[in-house]
Amino acid sequence: MKITLSKDKIESEGIALIERISGEDLKQCYQCGNCSGGCPVSLEMEITPSQMIRQLQLGNIEGVEEANTMWLCLGCQQCYSRCPKSVSAAKILEALRQLHLRKGEDHAEIAEMDMPLLKRGPQQAMVSAFRKFVS
């Protein structure tokens, strides 16, 4: 797939918004890939964390929006704790989730969740999942 680069895209408002929500400066990432190397779910991700940041550096928000990456991130902080540049991929992924959730686009329906699980499972899992998946 070809990506057409332009200043407008690279410095778009959408990118600025992601930087604002996450508090991260995308430019600081120098694409070493350590985050993808250590992320426990990167094997399951359609786009690994460092590649996701790269797409955003190019201004390609659409390119990452449909990927499962943001919904798989566990918030385990492995990426951040080993990043040589102290960039938090976790925060950037949270920002991507927020772009959906703040528009009211939920990722999960509570009603569709497994009832026995809701009853037996630890509350913290529910609270945490709701905060990540539901607006």
Partner: protein
């Protein structure tokens, strides 16, 4: 009435774009005492200077102001030209209307810039009217150099100075000179054996009639100033008489006690009486006192029994020696970030995770394995080795923001050495960028990949752990979609960051030189004065300045040597006459100036009568030491000190003219 000339420079458009220089010249012309003014395109150009000299002569000027760039740039130029025109150089002053005026004001109507230039020039005029002609002084130069650090860079500097006919004292803290280069196996990009090219230089230094090598010694104190330093050196007790020891080796053969070898970086043992490596220079052993049972508990003493010439002396003490030198070259080198800093790579606890320097020892024919690549844990030949570049380098989270510059190259070298020694072996290299900017360097790296089959993976390693006797390396290859990759390796080599030596900062303070945030020593100017420091007479060489390879370290050694030889080329050195002077009639001996002076240039002196009775105490400035900083002037409460060229009278006149 003085006859002063004012030359206003346009500096092309640099000044002219915001300053009406003609107007400045015209208005100054009307001031009392001004005999000549002009505006000129480039005062510093040859025609500009010619015009300047002619104007002085033709108009019979007795003082000149050049309103132009910062005096840092061209004060010297114009003072020289003034002198050529028969004027005392200290009757020439430069008013800075560029850096402090035209460059900071962007008013295109030129109003602000012109007014300010006028002010600056008028102030200078009033000051200049009170300038006295001064005469440059000169101080004698001690023609002898001190080189601190006997790595390749320090050795090169010492050899060049010595070949130039000047005596050198080379101080090395280890028992042998050679530094880190002595540890290397073969060297990029030519792959010559490190020992083979280094040891001849070590021996040459040892035998050179102009070089005195003090090993196991450290500089304790530096006093004095350029041309006249006094150095206090502590020679640690070796417990061996250097004048009689023949280096036969009987003692270390027979010594029954062992300790970890510093030189082998923990990969091997040495005896308690030892030389760091076989080709040590000088080839004289030292006793590791804290580990020697004879010295600690009066047990053993075997070495003394076997020593033919009776050179062992258990009672030897540290010795303080003093040297007088005219110049100092600092070549104290580097160390590597310790393996223990890498939690994610096993904290230095996984035995087969080694540093690049440790790998050099494993690959070196004089190393602990005789040059066979063997794993430290069990001596097996590794079937695969993972090399991790930028380990700690470019890693702000670990406190190192810079690139260590040499590890891309030596890692490529390591893969070649491995391939040449273990034909079946497979090497993997994790890198972030390849920085191979030197002559034939890029070709060298390509050779590692194309001829020797090193698998280069672009990405960092997240973690290294042990599993079933293998070392698991989990990282990423960002060139294949950011895939996580895992390698089961037998050994891991970390290209650990090259860092400044522990204590580099306190040593710099001892010398009075600057250092940066990473504690590498600061050049006076990174481009134009790369071997000078802010302290005149102290020069820098090699990796104590920052990461560099052998060719660069050697070049810098030669460059520092040429600076020192330049200094030694005449018997005396000219000094600026801008020095402090104490008014004997008003000094009340409070000694505030003595405490204030950062160069210890002020002494307490006694004034005696004819019978020799002390009648008065006075502060007196040593003009050799005085740097003209003016701190004492500010400190003196009775206003008894004035700085030549910057007298209170001159300064107040300038201020009042504003």
């Amino acid at each position: 009435m003085p006859r002063i000339g004012v030359f206003v420079c346009q500096c092309g458009n640099n000044i002219e774009s915001t300053v009406d220089t003609q107007k400045v010249a015209d208005e100054l012309k009307e001031m009392p005492g001004v005999a000549y003014t002009c505006s000129y395109k480039f005062m510093c150009s040859s025609p500009g200077q010619e015009m300047f000299k002619n104007a002085i002569k033709d108009n019979d000027l007795d003082g000149v102001i050049v309103s132009a760039c910062s005096p840092h740039m061209h004060e010297k130029t114009f003072r020289k030209a003034s002198e050529a025109a028969g004027l005392n150089p200290y009757k020439c002053e430069v008013a800075n209307i560029r850096e402090q005026c035209s460059w900071v004001h962007h008013d295109e109507t030129k109003k602000v810039g012109t007014v300010k230039s006028l002010d600056l020039t008028r102030m200078m005029l009033e000051r200049l009217k009170r300038n006295k002609p001064l005469k440059a002084t000169s101080i004698p130069v001690t023609k002898k150099a001190l080189v601190i650090g006997g790595g390749i860079s320090g050795i090169q500097a010492a050899l060049d100075i010595a070949d130039g006919g000047v005596e050198v004292v080379l101080v090395e803290r280890e028992p042998s000179i050679g530094g880190n280069m002595a540890r290397l196996s073969e060297t990029f990009p030519t792959m010559d054996c490190s020992q083979c090219i280094l040891t001849p230089k070590m021996v040459e230094a040892d035998l050179h009639e102009n070089i005195k090598i003090l090993t196991y010694a450290e500089v304790e104190k530096v006093d004095g100033y350029i041309g006249n330093f006094t150095i206090t050196i502590n020679k640690k007790a070796k417990y061996v008489d250097e004048s009689t020891c023949t280096g036969c080796g009987e003692c270390w053969e027979k010594c029954p006690f062992k300790a970890d070898s510093e030189f082998e970086l923990g990969l091997n043992k040495r005896k308690v009486i030892y030389t760091p490596f076989p080709q040590s220079v000088p080839n004289i052993p030292v006793i590791d006192a804290p580990k020697c049972p004879k010295i600690q508990k009066d047990k053993c003493g075997l070495c003394a029994k076997v020593c033919g010439p009776g050179s062992i002396d258990f009672t030897q003490k540290d010795e303080i020696v003093t040297e007088h030198v005219g110049a100092i070259i600092v070549a104290t080198g580097f160390e590597l970030m310790p393996n223990e800093h890498f939690g994610e790579y096993g904290y230095g606890k996984i035995k087969d995770v080694v540093s690049g320097l440790q790998f050099e020892r494993l690959a070196s024919s004089s190393g602990p394995t005789g040059g066979k690549i063997e794993r430290p844990s069990d001596g097996k030949t590794p079937e695969s080795i993972v090399f991790i570049q930028c380990a700690g380098s470019r890693d702000e989270a670990k406190g190192v923001s810079y690139c260590s510059k040499i590890c891309c190259m030596y890692t490529a070298k390591h893969t070649m050495l491995y391939k040449h020694k273990v034909h079946e072996g497979k090497s993997y290299v994790f890198y972030m960028d390849i920085r191979a900017g030197g002559k034939r360097y890029e070709e060298f790296v390509r050779k590692a990949i194309e001829d020797d089959g090193a698998m280069y993976l672009r990405g960092r390693v997240s973690r290294v752990y042990e599993k079933n006797g293998k070392i698991m390396v989990q990282g990423v290859d960002t060139l294949s979609n950011g895939q996580q990759v895992e390698i089961e390796a037998d050994m891991v080599v970390l290209a650990t960051a090259l860092i400044s030596r522990k204590g580099a900062d306190s040593f710099a303070q001892k010398l009075g030189i600057g250092y940066d945030k990473d504690k590498f020593y600061s050049e006076y100017h990174p481009k134009l004065k790369p071997v000078e420091t802010v302290t005149a007479g102290i020069y820098l060489s090699g990796t104590c300045v920052g990461p560099m390879d052998i060719p660069e370290s050697v070049s810098m050694g030669s460059a520092a040597a040429s600076k020192a030889l330049g200094l030694f080329s005449s018997d005396k050195m000219a000094r600026e006459p801008i020095t402090a002077d104490v008014n004997k009639t008003t000094c009340n001996a409070c000694w505030d100036c003595v405490t204030a002076c950062p160069y210890t240039a002020i002494a307490k002196t006694e004034v005696k009568d004819r019978e020799g009775n002390i009648v008065q105490m006075l502060a007196e400035v040593n003009v050799g030491l005085c740097q003209g900083c003016g701190v004492c002037v500010a400190a003196c409460r009775s206003k008894s000190i004035d700085l030549a060229g910057y007298t209170d009278e001159q300064v107040y006149a300038a201020i009042n003219a504003f």
